[in-house]
Symmetry: C5
Subunit: 154 residues, 5 copies
């Protein structure tokens, strides 16, 4: 049975992993979820690598909520660079789901955005592992996870 | 038969992959196109690596449309760094075709730019694989894909 | 017996390593601490790698205090990138504990923040090595090391 | 016979490669030049790596002309990072000769700067391969390729 | 006998390598110095790697003087990233001694700073190789190479 890794943080103010697991289970079956929780987003790259190398995950969702300060933006950049490196070292996709605290202006909107983006990317993760042709049909259609899609320009 | 990889995203608002495939076929023959679609540009590096490692592509076009916000610019930078790493790990060229949404000021111009840049780089990809001397003859001539060439300064 | 590495710098104005070792010992047992001191934070990545490769540490705490100038911020970024690379090369977690000199406005607050953040991350390091389920229970709860936790948004 | 690689771009508005080859031949002998032309500076890293891995070049000159816009500056940074990575993967020097379009204010000055910097670095490349003691004697003397040397501060 | 590498540039306006060698010899014995000079700081990473891989150096000092312009700051960042990579690839420390031209306001101060920082880091390099406990005793004491130490905050 295939494995889907879900890595999240104690820094995030929203329980993104539960949304991910719930949506994955609502989307399909034939997989097992393996979870890991780390302190912050910079701890995610090696956590994802271990989910791939040691647990045999076929794809991983990396869930994080970068803060609004410049140092937080730098952390997010470093984490993203690390997540790309992991993918290249393992030839395995990692779906980065980062929700920046300053994307919206209230706690309520932040929780909503985090859940919605996580759920939409859970579907992407499932599709990439089990039915990549679904993504192919959405090529160039301006998909936006967590916000309204922008659509294709004809 | 040689293979040319074409990787694109669901984030892009223009179907750049179709333009790429159309132009490749108009330019020459003797190759097979292998396509992959991923959610966003940060998913392109490992998609391109898999096209090279697992599908045997001799060159890959990485097509993306970064958004206009600072976080989008950072994403584009991260994706570009990853694409360069893939090339060094595989000794294989990847032609990055990124069209930034703020390069032009209307949707119509954006679609035009995306198609034109993609087509011009499709010719580059074909030439790099089959007739590198064509690029040699353009050395130092100020080529600009999607815009008017700037030309050589004598 | 498991080993926990603790790497610190002569640049830091606070003896963070002593706080780390003290807190580790107060948190649990069954481990041995191995320490290394280097001049600055950019020397930490290879020091941590050697603690893992040559000393067999199962986790490492990287303790540093970046200065307030732009060049110091760049140093911190470079060090962080290196620390992530070490983790990917060794499949081992490194807990980065960086306290920026401009996070607070007095020397007294800086010493307090450095000690408190180091101690809270020492608990994280211990938990990651011996009882990862403790982190799992804190997933998405807005933990902030050295400052008041922000808490979960329901 | 030793080989010197020369990689350049179709983006550059000056034929830097011809200047490089001309100056190399004027400086000494005992080597063969191998040329490659790619579209832009981000294509240079893998082109240089292939010149080293596949052609056996003992040193490579990477010639490029980054544009004046922020996105061009980012491209130059990415290319430079890639060129450093290639050197570390191959234990081979690559002399990066980048001429930024906004270093001078007219096309005439740009052509002059590009040619002069290329020629001065061609001498560096030759010296690094055949007579490294020449560089040793210039240590700490404020050399500036393409502009007036700043000289040593006593 | 152990070897200490010293890599410097022709770009620097101060002969930092001579200061390094002089101070190393004044600090202790039991080592041989191996020198390499390259054009600029971006050439230092591979020069240091070759000093380690090909010459067997147990530690290397990388001496450079980045210019004051934004492009120079980017070069310094790229060089630093490369130097960290070399350390991780070789499990060997490299002491980066960079003196930015805009740290002080006169040529006289620049020469003084460059010499003093180089000499203080030469002692660090010697200590790291022969008596690491000396650094251990300075942990968290606010050392500043080239300027007055800031000291420990109690």
């Amino acid at each position: 049975m295939k494995k889907i890794g879900v890595a999240d943080t104690t820094f995030s103010r929203v329980d993104m992993a539960s949304a991910a697991v719930d949506e994955l289970n609502a989307t399909g079956s034939g997989f097992k979820v393996v979870r890991r929780t780390v302190p912050g987003i910079k701890d995610l790259p090696v956590a994802c690598k271990k989910l791939i190398d040691e647990e045999g995950c076929g794809i991983v969702m990396a869930l994080g909520m970068p803060g609004p300060k410049p140092v937080d933006k730098t952390c997010a950049h470093e984490a993203s660079m690390g997540l790309i490196q992991v993918q290249l070292l393992t030839n395995t996709h990692i779906i980065e789901v980062f929700v920046h605290m300053d994307e919206v202006s209230s706690e309520k909107e932040l929780a909503h955005l985090a859940e919605r983006r996580t759920r939409e990317h859970a579907v992407n993760a499932y599709n990439m592992l089990f039915r990549p042709q679904k993504l192919r049909r959405q090529a160039g259609t301006g998909q936006r996870q967590g916000f309204k899609d922008e659509g294709r320009i004809e």
